[in-house]
C-alpha cells in the first residue's frame, strides 16, 4: 500500500510538474509554445486586436507600393487588367458597374492590414515588415482621398480611421423568396405562352477546347 502511494505521488508530480500538463480527453497533441503561437498568430481584427507596433507614412508607402504592388494594382491603386482596383469607386455601389475598392466598399481598415500582411505581395506573402504594411495602407488611404499627403499610419492612430462604407453591411436575410408553404408550386397549365428572351450564344464567351479558337 505504501509503495503504491509512493508511485502515485511520483506520477502525480511528474504530470503536474512536467511537460504533459495537457488534460484533454484523449491527451493527443501537445501544448503550443508561446513562440510558436506568436509565429502563426498574425490575424488582425477591427477592434485592433493583433495589430503589431509600427508606423508608416504615405511617402514611404508610395515607394513600397510602386516597387511591390503597382505591377498589378497600378501606380495609383487603380488596378491593371483584371487585378483588383484598390482606390476610387466612391458612389458607384448602387450603379450598373459597382467598383468595390478599399475606400468605396471595404468596411474595416483592419481587413486590409490582415490581408496585405498574410497574402501580399502576390507570390511573396508575409515578406513586408509591420512598418511596410502601415506605409502601404497609408498610401492606399491617400489614393482613396481618405488621408492627406503628410499622413502617417501607426498602431496608435489605427482605430481613428473609419472607412466610409462600414455602416452599409447587414446580416443575411435569406430565405428571401417564397417557400412552398407560402406559394404551392404550379404543376399543370401554369402559363399560356413561353418566349425565349435571351440566348447565351449571342454573347459567345464560352471557352472552346480547340486551340486558337478565341472566345472573347
Amino acid at each position: 500500500m505504501l509503495r503504491f502511494l509512493k508511485v502515485l505521488t511520483v506520477v502525480t508530480m511528474f504530470v503536474l510538474g512536467g511537460h504533459i500538463a495537457h488534460a484533454g480527453q484523449y491527451e493527443l497533441g501537445r501544448e503550443a509554445l508561446p513562440k510558436e503561437v506568436a509565429a502563426w498568430d498574425i490575424d488582425v481584427r477591427p477592434d485592433g486586436t493583433g495589430l503589431p507596433v509600427g508606423s508608416g507614412s504615405v511617402i514611404d508607402g508610395e515607394e513600397i507600393f510602386l516597387d511591390q504592388c503597382a505591377a498589378c494594382h497600378g501606380d495609383f491603386a487603380e488596378g491593371l487588367d483584371r487585378w483588383p482596383v484598390l482606390a476610387g469607386g466612391h458612389g458607384t455601389l448602387a450603379s450598373e458597374n459597382p467598383v468595390k475598392t478599399v475606400g468605396s466598399y471595404w468596411p474595416y481598415l483592419s481587413t486590409a492590414y490582415d490581408y496585405i500582411y498574410r497574402a501580399m505581395p502576390f507570390g511573396n506573402a508575409q515578406s513586408l515588415s509591420p512598418d511596410d504594411v502601415y506605409a502601404v495602407l497609408a498610401y492606399i488611404l491617400n489614393m482613396n482621398e481618405l488621408a492627406d499627403d503628410e499622413f502617417v499610419l501607426s498602431n496608435k492612430n489605427f482605430l481613428d480611421i473609419r472607412l466610409p462604407n462600414e455602416a452599409n453591411f447587414f446580416a443575411d436575410v435569406r430565405p428571401d423568396t417564397p417557400s412552398i408553404s407560402e406559394v404551392a408550386p404550379c404543376m399543370v397549365n401554369c402559363k399560356e405562352s413561353v418566349e425565349i428572351t435571351m440566348h447565351a450564344r449571342v454573347i459567345d464567351v464560352t471557352p472552346d477546347d480547340e486551340p486558337g479558337a478565341g472566345t472573347e
Binding site: A23, G24, Q25, Y26, L28, G29, E31, A32, V37, W40, D41, I42, D43, R45, P46, T49, C72, L93, P98, V102, P107, D114, Y115, R118, A119, A125, N168, F169, F170, A171, D172, V173, R174, D176, T177, P178, S179, I180, V183, P185, M187, N189, K191, V194, I196, T197, M198, H199, A200, R201, V202, I203, D204, V205, T206, P207, D208, D209, E210, T215
Partner: protein, 420 residues
C-alpha cells in the same frame, strides 16, 4: 460577337456524334440494313493480350474518356494561381465526384505541403493552446460523411442573363465526395473552449493564408477536419493533407491546407468575408455572412455540352442539393414551365449532399425548353432567376440558385437561354 452554329466546348466530339447518328438525330426502332462491323469484325482487344497488372499502379480513365476533364474560363480571372475551374458535371453520373474532377479554386496556387511538416494549431480562447501532427489527428475518433461543396459564386456569371453555354461553366463550381476525418467539436473540446468563445478562424497554410470567421454554433454542430476524400488522402488541389468541412455552407469557408484555428469572441471580418463573399444589393448596401447554400438543381443531360442524340425514349438526368438539408422533390418541365413532372430521386438522398434525379421521357424531335426546380425538406422552393433579381438586383455575384433553362433544338443541340 459572331454567331456560331454551336458554342459547345466539345464541338468536334459533338459533330462526330451527330454525324454518326445519321446526320440528324437518330430515329428509334430502325432496322439494320447491313451487319454491324462492331460485331462481325474481330477487334484487337478480342484477340491480343492487354497490359498486365501494375501497368497502371494508380489507375487512370480510358483514353476514350479524355474529354472528361476540368475546364476553366480564361477571361474570368487575372491569373491561374488565383482562379477557378469547373467540374464536368455533364459527364458524370450518380452523386459522387471523382477526386481528380473536383473543381479547383485557389487563391495562391496549389500548396504542395509535406505532411510530415504539417501542423494544426488551436489557439486563442481555449484552456490549452495545442499543436497536432497529422499522426496525432488520425488517433482521434473518426467519422465519414458525404457532403457537397459549392462555391458561392457558382452561376455568378449568369446574374445579368444567359452567358455561358455548358452546365460545366454555369454550375460546375460544385463537387460531392465522402470525407473521412474528425469532428471539429472533438478537437475543440480537446483544447477546452472558454465560455467567451463565440467564433473560430480557420486559416490555411498556402501563400494566401486563407482565413474566414465561423460562428461557434456551426463549428460545434457538424464541422469536420478531413484528411481523406472518397477513401484516399485529400488531393493537393483540395487541401492535402487537411481541410475544414463546413456542411451546406459556401465553399470558401472550407479552408484548405488547414494549419490553424483561432478561437475568439468576435468575427475577424477577413478580406474573404468583406471585400469578397458579401452580396451587393440594388441600393448599394450589402449582405454579409451569407453562409448557407440554398436549394438548387441543374439538368446535366441534356445540356449544351451533352446534346440530344436520339428521338424516342430518353433519360433526362440532373443534380439537386440544399445546404439546409435533404432534397425532398425535384420537378422537371419540358415545355418552359407550362407543365411540370416530378422526377425520380435515385438514392441515397442525404442531407447537404448532391442528389441525382432522372426523368424518363419520349422525344419526338420538337424543340424543348427544359428546367428543373428543387424543393428541400424545409419547404425551400428553388426560385426563378427573375424572382432573385427582383429581390436582389443583378450586382450580387454570389448565391445565384435560380432555375436554369436549356433550349433543345430540333437537331438536338442545346443552348443556355432565358425565357418569359
Amino acid at each position: 460577337m459572331t454567331e456560331r452554329t454551336t458554342d459547345t466546348s466539345r464541338r468536334g466530339f459533338l459533330t462526330g456524334s451527330l454525324a454518326a447518328a445519321g446526320g440528324l438525330v437518330a430515329v428509334a426502332g430502325a432496322k439494320a440494313a447491313t451487319p454491324d462491323p462492331a460485331i462481325t469484325d474481330v477487334q484487337e482487344w478480342n484477340q491480343y493480350l492487354g497490359a498486365g497488372v501494375d501497368d497502371r499502379p494508380y489507375g487512370v480513365p480510358s483514353p476514350h474518356e479524355s474529354n472528361v476533364k476540368r475546364r476553366h474560363v480564361e477571361w474570368l480571372t487575372a491569373s491561374r494561381e488565383s482562379s477557378v475551374n469547373f467540374t464536368p458535371i455533364h459527364d458524370l453520373d450518380g452523386f459522387i465526384t471523382p477526386n481528380g474532377l473536383c473543381f479547383e479554386r485557389h487563391h495562391a496556387g496549389i500548396a504542395e505541403v509535406d505532411p510530415g511538416k504539417h501542423r494544426l494549431m488551436i489557439n486563442g480562447l481555449v484552456d490549452r493552446e495545442l499543436v497536432f501532427t497529422m499522426n496525432d489527428l488520425k488517433r482521434f475518433p473518426r467519422m465519414n460523411r458525404f457532403y457537397f461543396l459549392e462555391c458561392a459564386a457558382n452561376s455568378g456569371m449568369e446574374w445579368r442573363g444567359a452567358q455561358l453555354n455548358g452546365c460545366q461553366f454555369t454550375h460546375g463550381m460544385i463537387h460531392c465526395v465522402q470525407y473521412s476525418g474528425v469532428s471539429l467539436r472533438t478537437i475543440l473540446d480537446e483544447a477546452g473552449l472558454k465560455t467567451s468563445a463565440k467564433w473560430i478562424m480557420p486559416e490555411g497554410a498556402d501563400a494566401s493564408g486563407m482565413n474566414r470567421s465561423v460562428p461557434i454554433e456551426k463549428a460545434l454542430d457538424d464541422c469536420m477536419i478531413a484528411f481523406a476524400m472518397n477513401g484516399e488522402a485529400l488531393r493537393p488541389e483540395q487541401g492535402y493533407p487537411l481541410r475544414l468541412v463546413v456542411p451546406g455552407w459556401e465553399g470558401n469557408m472550407w479552408v484548405k491546407w488547414l494549419r490553424r484555428i483561432e478561437v475568439g469572441d468576435e468575427p475577424w471580418h477577413a478580406r474573404e468575408e468583406t471585400s469578397k463573399y458579401t452580396d451587393l444589393m440594388e441600393d448599394g448596401r450589402a449582405r454579409r455572412f451569407t453562409w448557407i447554400m440554398d436549394a438548387k438543381s441543374i439538368i446535366t443531360n441534356p445540356s449544351p455540352q451533352a446534346p440530344m442524340l436520339h428521338r424516342g425514349h430518353n433519360v433526362l438526368s440532373g443534380l439537386a442539393w440544399s445546404g439546409r438539408g435533404r432534397i425532398d422533390r425535384v420537378d422537371v418541365t419540358l415545355d418552359g414551365g407550362k407543365n411540370w413532372i416530378t422526377a425520380d430521386l435515385q438514392g441515397p438522398v442525404l442531407p447537404q449532399c448532391l442528389t441525382r434525379f432522372y426523368l424518363n421521357f419520349e422525344w419526338n424531335g420538337e424543340p424543348l425548353l427544359v428546367q428543373s426546380r428543387a424543393i428541400d425538406e424545409t419547404g425551400y422552393l428553388q426560385p426563378t432567376k427573375d424572382e432573385l433579381r427582383s429581390v436582389r438586383g443583378t450586382n450580387s455575384i454570389y448565391h445565384n440558385n435560380g432555375i436554369q433553362t436549356w433550349h433543345v433544338r430540333d437537331n438536338g443541340e442545346v443552348e443556355n437561354v432565358e425565357i418569359s
